[in-house]
C-alpha cells in the first residue's frame, strides 16, 4: 500500500525536536539520523499521549513497556526519555562518548527508561512477546509496544514471534512498524520487498492498521484505541519518510548511518530546518 505522506506539515513541537536532534549531532557528529527522523513522531506520541510510565520510578511494575526494537533510531527515544525526566538532558549531548550514559544503541540496565537492549535486529518482538505473556500470567493490565523497522522485518525472528504472539492471543501487544521504505543498502522494494506487507501480518493472525506515521492526530487516534480486537495482537504499519523534514538527507541511503557529520553538512541541515518554521 502506498501512502502519500510527503505533504505532511510538521508542527512546532516536531520542528523543535528536530532542532534538538541536530544539536545532539553537532556534539557527537554521528548517528542513524534518517531513522531517528522517520520514527520521531511515533515516539513523541507514545511518550506524550499513550504509554503509562513514571520516570521517577522507571521499574514501576505496572508501567506500559515500550521497546525500540530498531535500536539504531535511539536518538529520538533518548530525547523523549530525557524530556520526561528519566535522565538529565545534559546526557543527550554526550552520546557515544567514552564515559557517556547513552550509546549508539539503547542498553537495558544502565539507562533508565530503556526496556531492552536492542541494536541487533529482530530481538525486540520476541522479548515483547515474553513481556506480554508475563502480563497475562500476573493478570496485569499493562500494554507492550514494540517499534520495529521495516528492514528489520526481513529477520526470521520477527515472524517467529508473530506466530507465537498470535497463538497466545496477545491482545496486550502492539507492534508498530516504521515503514520508511528504505534500508541501509537502498529502497526496501529493491533490496528485499516486504509486500504484500499488511496481508502478511493479517495471515499471521494480527489485527492490521496502516497510517501516515508523521500525522500526530492520526497517530494519537490509532495508538490510544484500546478496543479489544478478538484477542488478536495488533500491528500498526506507519508509513514514514526516512530523514523526514530535512530534504538533503530525506530518502538518501548515504545518511542511513553517518560516522562523520561535517560542519558544512550541519549548516545545510540547520538551514533546511529553519525553512520549515
Amino acid at each position: 500500500m502506498t501512502y502519500s505522506n510527503s505533504h505532511t506539515k510538521l508542527d512546532s513541537r516536531s520542528i523543535e525536536l528536530r532542532f534538538k536532534l541536530l544539536k545532539i549531532i553537532e556534539q557527537c557528529r554521528r548517528g542513524h539520523i534518517g531513522s531517528s527522523l522517520s520514527l520521531l513522531e511515533i515516539i513523541r506520541v507514545m511518550y506524550d499521549d499513550i504509554i503509562r510510565f513514571d520516570s521517577s520510578s522507571p521499574d514501576w511494575p505496572d508501567r506500559d513497556r515500550f521497546i525500540l526494537s530498531k535500536g539504531h533510531g535511539c536518538l529520538s527515544l533518548y530525547m523523549l526519555l530525557a524530556e520526561k525526566g528519566f535522565f538529565p538532558e545534559s546526557e543527550l549531548y554526550k552520546v557515544c562518548q567514552y564515559d557517556a550514559l547513552l550509546g549508539g544503541h539503547p542498553e537495558y540496565g544502565s539507562t533508565p527508561g530503556i526496556e531492552a537492549s536492542t541494536g541487533a535486529l529482530g530481538h525486540g518482538l520476541p522479548i515483547g512477546v515474553g513481556m506480554a505473556l508475563a502480563a497475562k500470567i500476573d493478570r496485569k493490565d499493562y500494554r507492550v509496544f514494540v517499534l520495529t523497522g521495516d528492514g528489520e522485518c526481513q529477520e526470521g525472528t520477527i515472524w517467529e514471534a508473530a506466530m507465537c504472539a498470535s497463538k497466545h492471543k496477545l491482545s496486550n501487544l502492539t507492534v508498530i512498524i516504521d515503514y520508511n521504505h528504505m534500508q541501509a543498502f537502498g529502497p526496501i522494494d529493491e533490496v528485499q520487498s516486504l509486500e504484500p506487507f499488511a496481508d502478511k501480518w493479517r495471515s499471521f493472525g494480527f489485527a492490521v492498521e496502516e497510517c501516515n506515521g508523521h500525522d500526530i492526530i492520526i497517530l494519537k487516534k490509532i495508538l490510544s484505541d484500546k478496543s479489544i480486537r478478538a484477542e488478536k495482537p495488533r500491528v500498526i504499519i506507519c508509513h514514514t519518510i526516512k530523514g523526514m523534514g530535512l530534504p538533503s538527507i530525506q530518502e538518501n541511503p548515504d545518511w542511513h548511518h553517518k560516522s562523520k557529520v561535517t560542519d558544512d553538512e550541519l549548516k545545510i541541515l540547520f538551514r533546511e530546518l529553519e525553512a520549515l518554521k
Binding site: 537495558y108 530481538h123 520476541p126 515474553g130 513481556m131 517467529e160
Partner: protein
C-alpha cells in the same frame, strides 16, 4: 537425568511463582504434572528457538525465571545471538536445559551432536555452564538455580547414566568436587566423563599409578583454585570431556597451566573430540571410544606419557 531435572523444576514451581517452563517441540514425558498444576506457567512452543530465548528474556524482564528445554545443539548454535544479547548482556535469569549434550544423539549424525556447546557459550560474559555427572547431582543443582545470577546452561546427558555421586556429597555451583585423591596423575573431567575418569583411575591404581579425579561440573565460572590445587604435585595432567578439545574444559585447563608458570612443566593432554565433525553414527559410546574418550583411552594416554619419560 532429564526426568529428575523436570521433577526438580516442578517442585520449585510449587514453591516459587516466578518459575516458568518453556519447551520447544519436545516430548511431554515428565512434564504433564507441571502442565496440569501450573498451566499458565507452562509453554509448549514451536520450533523457533530464537524466538523462545527472546520470549524467555521478556518474561525474565518482568520478574519470571524461565526454564527452557530443547535439543542442546539447537539451543546453542542457533540461538547464540539471543543468548548473548537478550540473556547475558541483560543479566537475566534464563535457564537453558540442553537435551542430548555431547554425542547422545550419535545415530542421528553431526547435525544433532552438541560437541561444541560449551565452547560456544564459554565465550559469553556472565554465562554459567553446568554439566552434572548424574541424576543425583541434578537433584542438588536445580534448587540452587532460581537465584543464581545471569543465564545458566545445563547440559543433560543421555538418561539412565551411572550414578557416581554420593548422597551426602556437597554440590555447589562453581565448586569442583574431588572424587578421588592421587599424586602422580591428575584427571580433570566434567559431565558423564567423570565416571570414565574414575574407572581409569582405578585401573591405573592396579599398575601402581596414583591418579586423582576431580569433577568440574561447573565449567564456567571455573573453579581455578581447586584445579591448581589438584594438579600442583602431579606431573601428568589429563582433561577428559565429551566435547571438542577446542574451547571446552581442556582449553580452560591449558590456559590456566600456561599462565601458572610451573617451575617443572606439566605433561598435559586434552582428551575429547579432535577438531573434526564425528564421521560415524552408532551410539554415544562408539563415538566417544573412537576418539579415546574412555577409561581405556585415558589409561593408555597416561601409560604413553609415563613410558616416554
Amino acid at each position: 537425568m532429564r526426568k529428575t531435572c523436570f521433577q526438580s523444576i516442578y517442585d520449585l514451581a510449587g514453591k516459587d511463582s516466578r518459575i516458568v517452563f518453556i519447551g520447544s517441540d519436545i516430548t511431554k514425558a515428565g512434564l504433564s504434572q507441571f502442565e496440569h498444576d501450573f498451566p499458565e506457567r507452562f509453554f509448549l512452543e514451536g520450533i523457533y528457538e530464537g524466538n523462545i530465548i527472546g520470549m524467555a528474556a521478556g518474561l525474565a524482564l518482568c520478574g519470571k525465571i524461565p526454564y527452557i528445554n530443547t535439543i542442546a545443539t539447537f539451543a546453542t548454535r542457533r540461538c547464540f545471538e539471543q543468548i548473548v544479547i537478550d540473556c547475558a548482556m541483560q543479566k537475566l535469569p534464563v535457564r537453558i536445559i540442553g537435551s542430548g549434550g555431547g554425542t547422545v544423539y550419535a545415530p542421528l549424525g553431526s547435525t544433532h551432536l552438541a560437541f561444541d556447546d560449551i565452547a560456544i557459550l564459554r565465550a559469553i560474559p556472565d554465562m554459567t555452564i553446568i554439566a552434572p555427572s548424574d541424576a543425583q547431582e541434578m537433584k542438588k543443582l536445580i534448587p540452587q538455580t532460581p537465584d543464581w545470577p545471569g543465564p545458566v546452561y545445563i547440559r543433560l546427558a543421555k538418561g539412565g547414566d551411572q550414578v557416581i555421586s554420593k548422597p551426602d556429597e556437597s554440590f555447589v555451583i562453581g565448586k569442583a568436587i574431588e572424587k578421588k585423591s592421587g599424586s602422580e596423575v591428575a584427571l580433570a573431567a566434567t559431565g558423564i566423563t567423570t565416571a570414565i575418569a574414575l574407572e581409569a583411575a582405578e585401573a591405573l591404581e592396579k599398575s601402581n599409578i596414583s591418579a586423582s579425579v576431580s569433577h568440574y561440573h561447573t565449567v564456567k565460572p571455573f573453579d581455578k583454585s581447586h584445579f591448581l590445587k589438584q594438579i600442583e604435585h602431579s606431573e601428568i595432567v589429563i582433561t577428559i570431556e565429551e566435547h571438542t578439545i577446542c574451547g571446552g574444559l581442556g582449553s580452560i585447563a591449558a590456559e590456566i597451566i600456561a599462565e601458572a608458570s610451573f617451575v617443572k612443566p606439566k605433561k598435559f593432554v586434552r582428551i575429547g573430540f579432535p577438531d573434526v565433525f564425528p564421521d560415524h553414527f552408532g551410539n554415544q559410546t562408539n563415538i566417544m571410544e573412537r576418539y579415546g574418550i574412555s577409561a581405556k583411552g585415558i589409561e593408555s594416554t597416561v601409560l604413553n606419557l609415563i613410558n616416554k619419560g
